[in-house]
Homo-oligomer: 213 residues x 4
DNA sequence: GATGAATGAGCTTTCATTCAT
DNA sequence: AATGAATGAAAGCTCATTCAT
């Protein structure tokens, strides 16, 4: 017989059960994808029966939304806590990058749910993910701006240019984080260092007036 | 009856029919996702009956594989053709970036199939996409290496560092390309310029021995 | 949160609770139908938890049976009380009709449970409804018989004919009662008068020997 | 093993299969009721697989609607054809009643679908049934009106009174038809005669000015 | 007397896939 | 070369019912 070792899940307050269900859902959806993840599988992974999942989370969509929201909150919180508000801009950027790569490392399924699944399955979810990304982007742009101002440059960077940089940086970070899931050499620290060196020297050069064009 | 004016497309050589089917599949899968795309919809979009799709492409998986392979070939070919083998390294990088952003712009569905769908639906497809990505990555690494060597730097970059850079660069490019689909201001040229400026000055700084750490 | 101000109704003697539950069940079943009425909805309408409903009424079938029985008893009682045993036959018929139409008007949900739901959901319930109907039918037949005898007719009506008449009369009454639920012009008095005029002149004619055949 | 003697239903043009499915659906729904009838059971009764039912009839609601529409059309057609337009009013009424009782006798399940199920399951269906009933009612009212006019009465019947009569007559007919399903003595002819005698003498009396009040 | 927590069973619906022509 | 007819298998969701407190 395959599986089904579940021995009648013990009674448990609702809040705790819900957390279990979200954990299971993130795990299953992160690995198999939203569509491929069946409610049966999620329920089994949570150690409960399907009706209970529906009783608490109401529908597959609602369950997915709850997952995305929780992971977005968790990631934003991790970054926010890591970034000391009084540090200089470069220190803040470093801490933020490190916190981000650590989240993606420790909660690989959560990161996949956020970065891959939420973006791939239509309006309600994509918007949630976009909102979170926009917050990160704004944060990074602000840091870059203040860093550029602090630097004793010969040329001011336009807002447009700074936004472009922030986009590129965030994109690179996302890509590295995703790649890191398959490559054990890419530790959170290593990823953060690679990006930080690159971003910092790049920014320095741009402020100094260098361009390729 | 509404619509369905399709006039039972007449007999047609197999190769051409297959191309039609792949076009339809890329369109439908790119828009709705692999799982959400039904063979019914693909067959209808291709203007043929479902059994014909099965006769030629055998299964949904095989059809998807064919799509991914074709788009990967197309993208690699576009980049290869754009990059003149005799140009200096920076010129080659620029041309390659431009070709990439143009592909993603002109074949938005194809790009989504390659970058989003293939990565999201398990082994057989993810490997295909990774193979293609590895080729692009190798190519970029080589360019960066030769550019770094050409620059009159005070410090040689290790292979490890160069690979990290290439990863970040490719990641940023992918991210920008995806973002560009929703933002008309992000033309292929603009995207390429943003990245090129950043990469070039960054590389220059690194070669000059600058680091953040 | 919307509504749900129910303040966990306090302890209460069993008989009263049961009545509440039956009231709720008749209301819900009368409106949505037996199958569509969920035990959840009934429990909520009764202001108690589902297990309590099961504790007192045992199952959905038993609950429905109890509803049908109570409504049947109520209707029979209303008619019996209205009909004075010593009045002449026509007066009794009139009072009975009026009582019937009043019941159907005041307890519309109960009437629907009896006339529509009980007949539509298989043996155990249909038999209950039929039993009640048979009692009404017997009563009407008796009235018509005694009225026919009292009339100074040229021709005696056979039992068969009288039964047919009773059937038609009861059927017409049921139909009018159901129709009255949607048509405010059909007051109990109006319905009773329509039927009484028709029945009385019809009976008179038949006794006088008239036939269409 | 229980049932499943179906030996792979032979291929068949769509129209014919659809008819089979409607036959099966009317049979199953007429016997078990709309809610209790499962698509599985209907498909099996039709001798096909469930997906085919969905392919042709789209949903349970649509299937039910199709049943109700077909039965309504059939009943109206049966009555219309039976009633010779040039006969006198009483002859027309007789023929119509006979046709009605024959329909209810020969297509008992269809009659139940129309009279019981359609009325019991909410708006979309109830409206269909009401529309059909209204047509019958209008027809009967017209006949009664012309018959009353033809009779050499001392008193004209008001429109209101005639409508009430028609309602009662139709209601009695419906009730008799339903009752006839369980009582073999109630042949179509017997039912029609009972009603015709009653209606005719009643109408005669009313026209002659008799009332109970 | 009363309830929050939990489930087995079943329903409607959809989809990839094949058969017969 | 091409298709109308048909299905096995599974997915999302709901419901009557019970357990433990």
């Amino acid at each position: 017989m395959s599986g089904k070792a579940r021995v009648r899940a013990r009674r448990m307050p609702r809040a705790e059960r819900e957390r279990q269900m979200l954990d299971a859902a993130v795990r299953v959806i992160g690995r198999h994808g939203y569509q491929a993840a069946s409610m049966d599988e999620i329920a089994e992974a949570a150690g409960v029966s399907k009706p209970l999942v529906y009783l608490y989370l109401h529908s597959k969509e609602a369950l997915f939304t709850a997952c995305v929201e929780r992971e977005a909150r968790t990631l934003i919180a991790a970054i926010s806590e890591a970034v000391g508000q009084r540090d200089p801009a470069d220190g803040q950027l470093w801490s933020g990058l490190l916190a981000f790569f650590r989240y993606a490392d420790e909660r690989a399924d959560g990161w996949r749910v956020l970065h891959v699944q939420a973006r791939t399955h239509g309006e309600p979810f994509a918007r949630l993910a976009d909102t979170m990304r926009a917050r990160v982007l704004g944060f990074v742009t602000a840091l870059l701006t203040s860093a550029a101002r602090a630097a004793d440059g010969t040329r001011d960077l336009g807002e447009h240019e700074l936004t472009g940089l922030a986009h590129a940086l965030v994109g690179a970070a996302e890509s590295l984080a995703t790649r890191a899931a398959d490559d054990p050499a890419l530790t959170p620290t290593a990823s953060a260092r690679t990006l930080m060196d690159f971003a910092w020297t790049g920014l320095g050069g741009l402020v100094a007036g260098e361009r390729w064009s």
